[in-house]
């Protein structure tokens, strides 16, 4: 029987025979993840369950990344809960301080997640790891507490939407644009409870970092997972990120898909998701003249080295508009160091950017770049909900790093073409 990639991945983790969408199966998990906001509740649940030891201390990952560096007393005290638990349970993969970074950039980079894995995380963007062919999905803290105790979770087998991405990417079109175009097409609940499975010649050529960007925002279409095939590019990525010897894996062409969505990228121009919903997607050229006060380049969506290079390519030899604060947050220490090696930090600094630490910070209105009343941001993050980055009277435009950097220079929502590029 032909299977979707989602079904193949789940079948590897359950003894029950997968028959089709809607079936609920008990699955073994390979990695259980939580962060500084969600771990304390998961730890409470774990203790309330009467659990004494985690099912496998090697398979628990705790990343302090949202309100760090600890932004105030409450968030500092919140981190103490995770730190104490990691010590008590002797969990080796506890990340805090200078070794920590944005979780969904950190885990694939360190080879802690990889093809074929089943990953559950108390963070909705856990779906990022579908970019390397892992069945990875976000859950709440109580589910994560249960997974820490049992090493298992229940999952409903999702139907799969096949997303066929064809064509040649124009010079300034990025993975982020592809995903925003798709979310614009599907709507924010168009893939609710379902898997997105990416295929097509544009996907075959898309580097793994771009795939991680796309999979990251599967949740913004309501999806449970966003899955990419495990191909030569994945194998090369994994080989250089501590996961050698990975086998290829893809969904069967003759499997039953709920629907197929085709997207031709050849003639597309860069887009933004306008306030206050990620599906409100328009070409940059159609939004008009919109002054911008803040630009954020970073996050689990676009904080990787290819994103930093993209931003630097636009910012090199140019200046950030005086009315804009352009904040660059490389997602992990390794990305930070690579920026330094390649001279990107000098480019950012010369352009007048603020370069900050590896944190989720402003994406969720935590710190390191909050919007005031009436302010507008262009951000490479993943959500533009009302008030997400600060004031309820502020606006967020989601975009790729090239559009964000161009907007910082232009002082308004702008594409590279607006700078003559």
């Amino acid at each position: 029987m032909a299977h979707t990639l989602a079904q193949k991945l789940l079948q590897r983790h359950t003894d029950e025979a997968i028959t089709g969408p809607g079936q609920i199966v008990q699955c073994r998990v390979d990695v259980v993840l939580a962060n500084d906001i969600t771990a304390p509740l998961a730890i409470d649940a774990f203790k309330a369950m009467g659990a004494k030891r985690v099912f496998d201390r090697e398979k628990i990952v705790l990343v302090m990344d949202h309100f760090v560096p600890q932004k105030d007393l409450a968030s500092a005290n919140q981190v103490l809960v995770s730190r104490a638990f990691a010590e008590e349970q002797a969990i080796p993969r506890y990340y805090e301080g200078g070794i920590s970074g944005v979780e969904h950039a950190l885990l694939p980079e360190a080879g802690l997640v990889g093809p074929g894995d089943l990953v559950v995380g108390a963070d909705s963007h856990t779906c990022t790891y579908g970019g390397v062919g892992a069945f990875a999905t976000g859950m709440g803290s109580t589910d994560i507490g249960a997974a820490m105790a049992l090493g298992e979770t229940w999952l409903k087998v999702p139907g799969s939407i096949r997303v066929q991405v064809e064509g040649t990417l124009p010079k300034w079109l990025r993975a982020k644009d592809i995903m925003l175009l798709l979310i614009g097409r599907l709507g924010v609940d168009g893939a609710r409870y379902q898997a997105l499975e990416f295929a097509g010649d544009a996907v075959d050529r898309l580097p793994v970092e771009g795939r991680l960007t796309i999979a990251n925002m599967a949740i913004e279409a309501g999806a449970k997972v966003g899955l990419f095939p495990v191909d030569r590019l994945t194998q090369e990525y994994c080989a250089s990120h501590d996961r050698p010897g990975v086998e290829g894996l893809r969904g069967d062409d003759d499997a039953e898909y709920v629907q197929t969505v085709r997207l031709d990228v050849t003639d597309q121009e860069p887009v933004v998701a306008c306030p206050h919903i990620p599906s409100n997607v328009k070409p940059v050229s159609e939004v008009g003249t919109l002054p911008v006060q803040q630009v954020i380049i970073g996050s689990c969506t676009n904080g990787r080295i290819s994103d930093m290079r993209d931003a630097a390519e636009i910012l090199a030899g140019r200046k950030v508009d005086r009315k804009v604060r352009c904040i660059v947050l490389p997602a992990t220490p390794a990305v930070w160091k690579q920026c330094l090696r390649e001279g990107l930090m000098e480019t950012f600094t010369d352009a007048g950017c603020i370069v900050g630490p590896c944190t989720c910070g402003p994406c969720l209105g935590g710190h390191m770049g909050i919007l005031g009343d009436g302010e507008r941001a262009v951000a490479t993050t993943n959500r533009n909900f009302k008030g997400r980055m600060g004031s309820l009277a502020s606006e967020i435009y989601l975009a790729s790093p090239v559009v964000a950097a161009a907007s910082a220079v232009a002082g308004r929502v702008a594409a590279p073409a607006d700078l003559g590029l």
Partner: protein
């Protein structure tokens, strides 16, 4: 068990930042989060309601982050039941795990107006609109979830499993 309360309606795609803004996620106490429930929508939203109100929403309620603080904030505001056209999947699991009753009502949700008095009988899977004199039914939980609920929720369910496996591992 029967729930009776006044409907408070909200729109489509109410996200978790609307339900409980992220800067408040330094507590998970329902008494702290409850008064801030829906403050991303209206800073005074919680103060305008009463314990026992029934939240009635459109499509995709609870979309966005995995924060369990969202159902906790709703419970903290004294709301025990949410009726919506549909729910985002992580929120659905979180509500189930925290004891907030969700009713996925499809188009029936839109028949409810703000202020309508509702009576919900989970054992019968029925919602009665006492103001309008109408009612609708909703499907039971899948068996796997019903078993977890039957054990008292996920926490007691896991506790039983750990005990059956020879004490906490």
């Amino acid at each position: 068990m029967t729930y009776k309360g006044k409907a408070r309606t909200v729109g489509d795609h109410i996200d978790t930042d609307a339900i409980i803004p992220a800067h408040l996620l330094v507590s998970s106490d329902p008494a702290v989060l409850g008064p801030k429930c829906m403050s991303g929508l209206d800073p005074d939203w919680a103060a305008k309601g009463e314990p026992g109100d029934v939240l009635v929403a459109g499509r995709n309620f609870g979309c966005g982050s995995s924060r369990e603080h969202a159902p906790i904030a709703i419970l903290g505001a004294g709301i025990r039941v949410v009726i919506a056209h549909s729910f985002a999947r992580i929120f659905y699991r979180n509500a189930f795990n925290t004891g907030l009753l969700l009713i996925e009502a499809g188009d029936d949700a839109a028949t409810i107006s703000d202020g309508d008095v509702l009576e919900i009988v989970p054992d019968q899977g029925v919602v009665r609109n006492l103001t309008k004199g109408t009612s609708f039914t909703y499907p039971p939980l899948p068996p796997h979830m019903a078993a977890i609920l039957g054990a008292g929720g996920l926490v007691p369910y896991v506790r039983e499993r750990l005990a059956a496996a020879g004490g906490a591992s």
